[in-house]
């Protein structure tokens, strides 16, 4: 049953991923991506990690996908027709995808299983949680009952470096976004004379002189 579920979900996920790459329409591609994220969440549920599934839906569907759609709507003619999405970037994109795949395969292949749990590639029947005699079984039962806490502890201890790196990346993205937005704003405030604007240093890149007089 579990294996059948896994195969079905994985097949759907692969189909959705293919759809993301092959769709001619940006919004459709985004929708396929949503379907793919949802399949990943389903896989988390099959693995008894429902906190991760909820987080996956919350972050990837609730936030990333919606921002993606918002971005599409703000940058393109939203009702516009089809577009060639990859263009000249096809080869670099394939290379990047293969690189990510290789990194993931390497990481998963070298992952360290808990003592007594067996390697990831071996097919084992999932043992019952009760009675929890083995130490790793007790840990698994704790992880299922109190997953947010366990995930948080792991983030702060074992995966602290990755966690901090991700945080750094996001901060950099945020600062970059603010910088882009500020540039527009600075250009605006020069073009529009207002009290206090003279105190600011003039922006050299402004295309318009700041001496426009208000009527």
């Amino acid at each position: 049953m579990a294996r059948f579920l896994f195969l079905a979900i994985a097949a759907l996920g692969l189909l959705a991923a293919l759809g993301t790459v092959l769709a001619r329409d940006l919004v459709r591609a985004g929708l396929h991506l949503v379907a793919f994220f949802f399949c990943v969440a389903c896989l988390f549920v099959v693995l008894e990690a429902e906190f991760l599934a909820a987080a996956q839906v919350l972050i990837y569907i609730g936030a990333v996908a919606i921002l993606l759609m918002f971005g599409i709507m703000l940058t393109r003619n939203a009702a516009g027709g089809e577009a060639d999405l990859s263009g000249g970037w096809r080869v670099p994109a394939i290379l990047a995808g293969l690189a990510v795949f290789a990194a993931l395969a390497f990481g998963i292949n070298n992952t360290v299983s808990p003592a007594g749990a067996g390697p990831w590639a071996r097919v084992v029947e999932r043992p019952a949680l009760e009675p929890a005699d083995a130490a790793w079984k007790a840990e698994r039962s704790r992880a299922i009952d109190d997953m947010p806490r366990v995930v948080g502890e792991q983030f702060m201890t074992r995966y602290a470096l990755a966690f901090e790196l991700a945080g750094l990346l996001l901060t950099a993205a945020l600062v970059g976004a603010v910088a882009l937005a500020r540039e527009d704003e600075a250009a605006d405030s020069v073009a529009e004379p207002e009290p206090g604007a003279e105190a600011r240093p003039p922006v050299a890149t402004s295309p318009r002189p700041s001496t426009t007089t208000a009527p």
Binding site: L31, F51, A54, I61, A63, I66, E194, P195
Partner: protein, 415 residues
């Protein structure tokens, strides 16, 4: 305290046996396909009656006594009406969008503990689940607006996404104190926690969180004064302009269902679920293992729960009948400059309340009184601070700076 985990339906671990399947099937066919749509139908009737009273009218009174059969007539009308899809619309997405919105509203109900043992499921991270499934709704709204190929729909969708994404943040942040005090994300544990420590809305940080949750909740379900995504007078109903027949009915159902969900979640998180009295185990101490005790306790819990939800629903109707629609820039300002800083301050206050009152593990009268007085003053100070800083910022800006300027930079430069 242990009552909540004594029943199968509220255990974190679900065994996929036949009895679980029967319970879930009952929930699915009786609850989700029968009772909840029925509640929605009569909420619409209630809203029409309440709004009519506020406007000095009578409201629906033709179909059945007091117009009680009106919702049924409306439902039949919606179902048999022709569903018109505009020719340029993206057919499949046009169909999926209302379904996504409705599914999001229905899924949120799956973790609400209506009474002891009456929660469809109780995942250990129920609160995250709730936030996750309710964040799918904006996607459906966006797709509805986008797939209609109508500029009003698209405008409505843009407004909807901007508003819903902004108000999701204070809504989520305002639930953090609750999770902090209960030490768990499971709604059943939060419900149990309030039996010992009093309702969460009845302490200063909890009250602030409760108010923020209600405001953000009203914005999340697009009720007036936050209904700019579907402003009838500006963008002719926004994202569902191009929907008719039962597809429109699905949006309608989802909207009222979301109102019900917000009421349920606020009741569970802040008003002690179905408990009629704070600091009392009253209906739960009827549960002594016998079937009669369980039924009696659950009847009381369920009645009180539904009465509390009805109160929330009434307040939403009341606000809708009273307040005009907000302007979009003020709406965004309110979320980002008032609610989010208040939520962040409130998390600090909630931590202080946790240390003072919750840490000992039971309610100590002296500590509780200290916490109420000190944190009450601190909370009032935090609200004062945020409002004062915002006033000062607004006063420093030039007059009309908050007025939305439409047009190019050149037009503004020439002003």
């Amino acid at each position: 305290m242990d009552v909540g985990t004594a029943l199968i339906a509220q255990s974190h671990r679900v065994d996929l046996s036949l009895s679980t399947a029967i319970v879930w099937a009952l929930w699915l066919f009786v609850g989700f396909a029968g009772v909840f749509p029925g509640i929605v139908a009569y909420m619409v009737w209630l809203e029409r009656k309440v709004a009519a009273r506020f406007q000095d009218r009578i409201g629906p009174n033709r179909v059945g006594p007091f117009g009680l059969l009106q919702p049924i007539a409306d439902a039949i009308k919606l179902i048999i009406k022709e569903s018109i899809v505009p020719r340029p619309a993206d057919g499949l997405i046009h169909l999926i969008a209302p379904v996504l919105v409705l599914v999001s509203a229905f899924l949120s109900l799956a973790v609400v503990p209506f009474a002891v043992g009456l929660a469809p499921i109780d995942p250990p991270s129920g609160l995250v689940y709730l936030i996750a499934v309710s964040s799918v709704g904006p996607l459906g709204i966006f797709l509805a607006g986008w797939s209609s190929r109508n500029k009003y729909s698209l405008l409505g969708a843009m407004r909807a996404v901007a508003q819903l994404v902004s108000y999701e943040i204070p809504q989520v942040l305002s639930t953090i104190p609750v999770a902090l005090w209960a030490g768990s994300l499971s709604l059943v544990t939060i419900f149990d926690h309030q039996a010992t420590f009093g309702w969460n809305a009845f302490n200063p940080p909890g009250f602030l969180a409760f108010v923020i949750f209600l405001i953000a909740g009203a914005a999340e379900v697009n009720r007036t004064p936050f209904d700019i995504p579907e402003a009838e007078s500006e963008i002719i109903a926004g994202y569902h302009t191009e929907y008719s027949g039962m597809r429109f009915g699905l949006f309608f159902l989802a909207e009222y269902l979301s109102v019900f969900v917000v009421g349920c979640v606020a009741t569970v998180l802040f008003l002690g679920g179905g408990a009629p009295l704070p600091f009392s185990a009253f209906p739960r101490n009827l549960i002594d293992g016998s079937l009669g005790g369980l039924v009696a306790a659950n009847a009381i819990l369920l009645t009180v729960f539904l009465l509390k939800v009805l109160l929330f629903i009434f307040v939403m109707f009341w606000v809708r009948a009273t307040l005009p629609r907000m302007r979009i820039d003020r709406l965004m300002n309110f979320a980002w400059k008032y609610l989010v800083p208040l939520c962040l301050l409130n998390i600090l206050l909630a931590a202080a309340w946790f240390e003072v009152v919750v840490r000992p593990g039971r309610v100590v009268a002296s500590r509780w009184a200290t916490g109420m007085i000190v944190l009450g003053m601190l909370t009032a100070g935090a609200v004062q601070l945020v409002f004062r800083v915002n006033r000062r910022l607004a006063a420093a800006a030039p007059i009309d700076a908050d007025w939305p300027t439409v047009g190019s930079r050149a037009a503004r430069a020439g002003r």
